[in-house]
């Protein structure tokens, strides 16, 4: 099965030419019912063709429990983005990053490969002050043009701080989870299952919500 059209592949080839280092993608699927698993496998297969710096490893959520627990994987399909040393950076995509979400996925690949942008100095300082683990969940739908912006910010924060992990969750594939978090509008951002906000808000809003946990007033 091919899911990326030749046209999209050609565009991706151009954009991903900027990749500096290799990026490893750990793809978790499971046997039995697994909506969009097949499509996600096909998508990553297509991506391998686009740039040989993208290396894909297949795991099974039930059989590879060690890796799943190391990287905090609980859903399938799930893509964990690892650096060239195969180190876990705290970022994953739960559900297929298709539709608009391809944009955040590609940007994340570039960031992890070493051709990303720098955060402003004062943001870095605020992140260095963090002491507790922070988990950011970003619920998205594939038809949502604002969502990639929120996913990019969350992932960028996770890449910039060892205390932060961040995950995209495709709300339709994981509808039980989105019901549990009362998601009716995306992007919805949930921090440590405690604080939440809606919309692709400025980085400042992400930081303020994170600091609510880190420095309770």
């Amino acid at each position: 099965m091919q899911v990326l059209t030749e046209e999209v592949k050609a565009q991706l080839r151009e954009i991903l030419a900027l990749m500096e280092k290799e990026v490893h993608l750990a793809l978790f699927t499971k046997s039995g019912e697994c909506p969009t698993c097949e499509e996600t496998i096909a998508m990553l297969d297509d991506l391998k063709d686009v740039n040989p710096k993208i290396l894909v490893h297949h795991y099974d959520l039930e059989e590879n429990q060690q890796e799943a627990s190391d990287w905090g994987v609980k859903l399938a399909p799930s893509i964990v983005v690892l650096n060239d040393q195969k180190e876990y950076l705290g970022i994953k995509f739960n559900g297929i990053p298709a539709g608009h979400e391809i944009n955040s996925f590609i940007k994340t690949l570039l960031e992890v490969s070493g051709s990303g942008t720098e955060l402003p100095l004062d943001t870095k300082e605020r992140l260095e002050a963090l002491t507790v683990p922070i988990n950011i969940k970003v619920f998205v739908t594939l038809g949502c043009p604002h969502c990639p912006g929120a996913v990019e910010k969350a992932h960028k924060l996770a890449l910039s701080s060892t205390h932060i992990s961040s995950e995209m969750i495709e709300a339709q594939t994981f509808s039980d989870l989105s019901n549990e978090y009362s998601v009716s509008s995306v992007p919805k951002i949930v921090i440590n299952d405690q604080y939440e906000f809606v919309g692709d808000q400025p980085l400042e809003v992400f930081l303020e919500e994170i600091e609510k946990i880190s420095m309770p007033s």
Binding site: Q11, H100, E118, T141, P145, S184, V186, L203
Partner: protein
């Protein structure tokens, strides 16, 4: 789930690949990459001006639209599809597009300065502001509390959550009626509520009226949004009879028009009471050399084709401004030379 891939990244994601934009003086810097900004870029680049586009979301609000049926040349095209066409055009002209956000603008003599949120600065002879607009809020009790809990602002984003549910749409323009038509395919029932008469295009209204699962309330104002932690309904006032009633539903899509993205220019440029930038017939703002085009500029009508037209006009006006600046500078130089000579003599 039908799979598509809506790629819209700039080809210029790597910051140092375009570092010249940050050191060299630009002729035209365009804030915004929607129809107004991209059209301005096409005209400026073709005039041979050193052109840079700085826009946070390439495509702008066109991406929020499911279908566009009133842009010449396309009887019907998806928002995504039209953005792709714009991008192909921009790319063929090799315009530099930076996916960055502007925090503020200022002026130093004749030079305009853009301050980016990442702390960097861009210097330019002219600026075209095409930062567009965003959805307006209803401003009734309950809206803040239930935002994202049934109160939503993007039909193509959040429609899927309301499969087989009962949803309401507030508004009476094209965006509202389009939302009703799209939602009617997903939801069990759609109720449109508008405070006056519909002002959407006749062709859309007719399409909506043919749908069996749509109910229409006109001359009806929404007074309050009800529900504790999730939206349960709305309290409305029927303006003709003065009767109050409660409409129950699971979601409320608010499509009541737009608010210009101009807070960052508040301290620099003159604006009207709606927050739109005031411009003259050449789209020049209260500072010469700074132009505004599209949804941000003072105008009653907000459409893709109008924004694109504005963008073209602003780019041509910026080109004229630069030419005059050049002549003025030569003139100033000549007159100082002249003075120099006369003191010697």
């Amino acid at each position: 789930m039908s799979l598509t891939f809506e790629l819209n990244l700039s080809d210029n994601l790597k910051p140092d690949a375009a570092s010249s934009s940050f050191s060299e003086l630009q002729d035209v810097t365009i804030i915004g990459a929607g129809p107004a900004g991209l059209s301005a870029a096409i005209y400026a680049q073709r005039k041979g001006l050193k052109t840079l586009v700085v826009g946070s979301r390439i495509g702008g609000q066109v991406l929020d639209t499911s279908a566009i049926e009133n842009y010449p040349g396309f009887s019907s095209i998806s928002g995504e599809g039209l953005v792709q066409q714009f991008q192909n055009h921009i790319k063929s002209l090799q315009v530099t597009v930076e996916q960055l956000e502007v925090a503020e603008i200022s002026t130093r003599d004749h030079t305009k300065i853009l301050h980016l949120t990442d702390g960097r600065e861009i210097r330019s002879k002219t600026i075209i502001i095409a930062s567009g607009s965003h959805h307006r809020q209803l401003g009734v009790p309950g809206e803040g509390r239930l935002k994202g809990r049934g109160v939503v602002y993007c039909a193509i984003c959040d429609g899927p959550f309301f499969q087989d549910r009962r949803v309401m749409v507030a508004g009476g323009g094209n965006a509202a009626v389009e939302a009703v038509i799209d939602l009617a395919k997903i939801a069990k029932e759609v109720i449109i509520v508008h405070r006056s008469q519909l002002r959407a295009d006749d062709i859309l209204i007719k399409r909506m009226q043919q749908l069996e699962n749509v109910e229409i309330y006109l001359e009806t104002t929404i007074e309050e949004i009800l529900g504790d932690t999730m939206l349960e309904g709305i309290r409305v006032l029927k303006r003709d009879t003065g009767e109050e009633m409660i409409i129950q539903g699971d979601g409320l899509f608010i499509e009541i028009g737009y608010q210009p993205n101009t807070t960052i220019f508040q301290n620099t440029l003159n604006m009207n009471e709606k927050g739109e930038i005031i411009v003259d017939s050449l789209l020049q703002t209260s500072i010469s050399g700074i132009f505004a085009a599209g949804d941000v500029a003072e105008s009653l009508y907000k459409q893709v084709v109008i924004s694109a037209g504005d963008g073209a006009k602003a780019a041509l006006a910026a080109n004229d401004y630069i030419n005059h600046l050049q002549i003025r500078k030569e003139h100033e130089n000549a007159s100082t030379d002249g003075r120099g000579q006369s003191t010697i003599a």
